[in-house]
């Protein structure tokens, strides 16, 4: 479980988050929506310890973690798939997966993990010996997602997992994300521009605007209200 209370993040004079409070429950997916610059990525980065928190609290399973450095948070079970193709470009696909697995806190069988990844994305099996930098954009996105999940994290943070993916793969990835939270009991937080898709798979949704939560509620209710309606509240 991730609990955030009155969180402030500042980069120099720029306030990225201005008092955000939210809770993400285990076994569920929580969607963070909002326009570019609303503070969505900063929120995920604050949870994983990569952005400067200037106020408020972040609790991981009720333990405050602000003073824990990012690499230790990773050991505590947080996996963060960031935007911007952060993979080891010179390493082969399989080496990337092995590396990601070796940082896992709860050991799972490597071979089984890799097999599972390859079953999910057969193209990665075909490319297992290819340098990750030579993959197409969408294939890199699949690899990033797989690196985040192969260590079986208890807390999974995904920044725009659908970016650059073909519709058929997007559907598949979202099915997987929803299933991951349900099956492993992990706490999943996704940042997504495809609001409709994100609300469909999530239990709870938050809309950020200017670093603040402007709308929150059960995803089903937000969907019922209409995606455009929900989001437009954030663009007022």
């Amino acid at each position: 479980m991730i609990e955030i209370r009155d969180l402030w993040v500042k980069y120099g004079a720029v306030e990225a988050l201005r008092g955000v409070t939210l809770t993400a429950h285990p076994g569920q997916t929580t969607a963070i929506l909002g326009a570019n610059g609303a503070g969505k990525s900063s929120l995920l980065r604050a949870i994983s310890g990569l952005s400067p928190v200037t106020g408020g609290e972040i609790l991981l399973n009720s333990q405050p973690i602000q003073s824990v450095p990012p690499e230790k948070r990773s050991r505590l079970g947080i996996a963060h798939a960031m935007e911007g193709r952060r993979i080891f470009r010179q390493l082969a696909v399989q080496e990337n997966l092995e590396l990601a697995w070796s940082f896992g806190a709860r050991g799972i069988d490597l071979d089984a993990g890799i097999r599972e990844v390859y079953d999910r994305f057969p193209i990665l099996r075909e490319k297992s010996a290819t340098a990750a930098g030579l993959l197409s954009g969408g294939q890199q996105q699949m690899l990033i997602l797989s690196c985040a999940t192969i260590r079986n994290p208890t807390h999974l943070l995904l920044d725009e997992p659908s970016l650059g993916l073909a519709p058929i793969i997007v559907t598949q990835i979202y099915d997987f994300i929803a299933g991951f939270a349900r099956d492993t009991g992990a706490t999943v937080v996704i940042v997504e521009q495809m609001a409709k898709m994100a609300l469909k798979v999530s239990a709870h949704g938050y809309v950020l605007r200017g670093g603040k939560v402007v709308v929150e509620g059960e995803s089903r209710a937000l969907l019922a209200k209409g995606v455009a309606e929900t989001l437009s509240a954030s663009y007022l």
């Binding site: 570019n36 610059g37 911007g84 294939q139 725009e160 519709p167 058929i168």
Partner: protein, 601 residues
């Protein structure tokens, strides 16, 4: 604090401040001891030398461990010309500096092909070759004995244009030269030349996609850097009156690199401060007697820990790449977007294109035509070859078979910067902007190929160059308004959210006034309202006759926007036609859309 620093930067880098400081130094020099004047002259020589590193490493990103070679060419050049050929310093100094520049230009041909450690080794090799030549070519250089009796201000044997020089008047000459060099560099950095150098430093692919030739830009950097190092060398020779090989070894190259790095790469003012500190420091440390160099080393080690971005990073704002004068002149211009007048006339034809990477066939016999003035969507599964196709059309890859033509001209096989120069411009899937540039500076970079005034007229800040820059700045304003970026004009792009970076790249491509634009997933990462804006921008491009190719996965975004659709799968065209037909095409559904296509879009 930030505002204070901005004001301080504005003051220190103001031309009036620089001139006032120079006048103050010039006026007070006659009252100083000869020792002090000598040190001040050494400082100025190191200032010019450090600027030479700053152009090459700080701006263009090319590291050099052999700069003492250029310094030496200047020193030996002027020494031989004055001693053996009895030339006046007013001729020998420019000649020797030009010689160093020419050597730099030639060196750029091999070094321009390599990077990082390989580049460091190659330049180290250059420095060592120079050192050995000086030691062995005894008849010209005096070998290990060196050349003594070089006309020198300290020995009162020097004169320039027939006027005899003493130490003070020599100091004035060097001071005047330094002020001119700093002034020219400051103008040049904040013009299209400086922006191109910095763009090549940060992303060669992106630079050439805007029509900037990486090789030519590096040649310019090496030539300018060579001239400056040579100039510093000539002043050094006539200051000390004796030159020997030991003054031009590797330690000298390292020393100036250290001055430049600690000063803050990219900052002209930082170089000046650092040159002053590091020239004076050894003198000041003499109090430590035999521990002098240990203390020096300790200071050096810790200075980069305390000042990761150098002295300039601590006390100054990051350097900017647009002149304030051009910014204020820009207000006089009517700001409107200028569209390409020849847009919509000529089609791009791709015929039988195959691209193989080793055993992998990324494109397999692809043929398609981009109808002038139409919007063509290129879609397909991940890894189907869409980006590869764009890369071949833009000249990043040469095709294995087949060809791409633009009207009657075959463009496949041409280098990317030439194709961009012909008006075919693209954006990248992952935005490739110059991270330290502001949005405005990135957009100006897009107009690089349209700038007609020379770098020299920019360095001298001639009115024509200033007006041209102002006109493009006005156009930048108009493009930023169209793309919703006006509020971020002066924000460095590395602190912009992802979606705005994407928009900035589209805006930058527009600045190049293309007739054909290839957009690689422009809507990825955009919010719904931003997508609406992007749609408006693309329609506007079409209105002005642009030929547009669009790689995109958002079907809702493509609906109502595109004229034709081409679907690729495994490098082959599996569908050609309109969007409606595509949605119903069973092959496309199986390969790409999936059954839940509605949700995904």
């Amino acid at each position: 604090m930030t505002r204070l620093r901005t004001r301080f930067t504005g003051l220190i880098t103001h031309p009036l401040f620089v001139v006032a400081l120079a006048v103050l130094l010039a006026v007070s020099a006659p009252g100083m001891t000869t020792g002090s004047v000598q040190i001040l002259t050494f400082i100025l020589i190191n200032v010019i030398f450090a600027q030479s590193i700053n152009v090459l490493t700080g701006l263009a990103g090319q590291i050099s461990l052999g700069h003492a070679g250029f310094f030496g060419i200047g020193a030996y050049g002027t020494a031989v010309l004055t001693k053996t050929y009895n030339l006046d310093m007013i001729i020998s100094i420019p000649l020797a500096s030009a010689l160093a520049g020419a050597v730099g230009y030639l060196l750029s041909f091999p070094t321009g092909r390599v990077r990082e450690v390989y580049l460091a080794m190659m330049t180290l090799g250059f420095g060592m070759i120079f050192y050995e030549i000086v030691r062995e070519w005894v008849s010209v250089t005096g070998g290990t004995m060196g050349l003594s009796g070089v006309s020198s201000a300290a020995l009162r044997s020097a004169s320039i244009a027939g006027i005899p020089l003493n130490q003070v008047s020599y100091f004035w000459v060097v001071l005047a030269a330094t002020v001119v060099v700093v002034g020219l560099l400051s103008n040049m950095t904040r013009s299209h030349v400086g922006r191109a150098l910095f763009a090549v430093h940060h992303n060669e692919t992106a630079a050439s996609s805007l029509g900037i030739s990486n090789a030519a830009t590096k040649r310019t950097a090496y030539a300018i850097s060579g001239v400056l190092a040579g100039l510093a060398g000539t002043f050094y020779a006539h200051l000390v009156g004796y030159i020997g090989p030991e003054s031009f070894g590797v330690h000298r190259s390292i020393e100036v690199l250290v001055i430049s790095i600690v000063g803050g790469l990219g900052s002209i003012a930082g170089q000046i401060i650092s040159a002053a500190v590091f020239t004076y420091l050894p003198e000041a440390l003499q109090a430590f007697a035999e521990y002098q160099f240990i203390v020096y080393g300790v200071i050096l080690t810790f200075s980069l820990i305390v000042l990761p971005k150098g002295i300039a990073g601590l006390i100054f704002d990051p350097p900017r790449f647009v002149r304030p004068a051009a910014m204020s002149a820009n207000k006089a211009h009517a700001s409107d977007i200028t569209w390409n007048a020849s847009a919509g006339r000529i089609a791009i034809k791709v015929e039988g294109l195959t691209k193989r990477f080793g055993g992998l066939t990324a494109l397999d016999n692809v043929s398609l035509t981009l109808t002038p003035g139409n919007i063509t969507a290129l879609i397909g599964p991940n890894g189907s070859g869409k980006s590869t196709l764009v890369n071949v059309v833009c000249g990043i890859y040469a095709p294995t078979e087949g060809r791409v033509s633009f009207g009657d001209t075959v463009i496949s096989g041409l280098p990317d910067f030439k194709i961009a120069g012909m008006g075919v411009v693209r954006t990248f899937q992952d935005p490739r902007l110059v991270p330290n540039f502001t949005v405005r500076e990135n957009l100006l970079l897009g107009a690089h190929g349209l700038i007609r005034r020379s770098g020299i007229s920019a360095a001298f800040a001639l009115p024509g160059a200033l007006q041209e820059e102002a006109a493009f700045l006005a156009e930048t304003d108009a493009v930023m308004r169209l793309t919703g970026l006006s509020d971020f004009a002066d924000t460095p792009v590395n602190s912009l959210p992802y979606g705005y970076r994407r928009m900035a790249e589209v805006a930058r491509a527009l600045m190049a006034r293309p007739h054909t634009i290839l957009l690689d997933e422009p809507a990825a990462g955009l919010s719904e309202s931003e997508m609406v804006m992007l749609g408006t921008i693309i329609r506007k491009m079409k209105e002005h006759g642009l030929t547009i190719m669009l790689i995109e996965h958002h079907m809702d975004f493509l609906a109502d926007l595109v004229d034709n659709v081409v679907v690729l799968d495994s490098g082959q065209v599996i569908y050609r036609g309109d969007l409606e037909g595509m949605r119903k095409d069973q092959t496309v559904i199986t390969a790409y859309l999936g059954d839940d296509a509605e949700d995904a879009a």
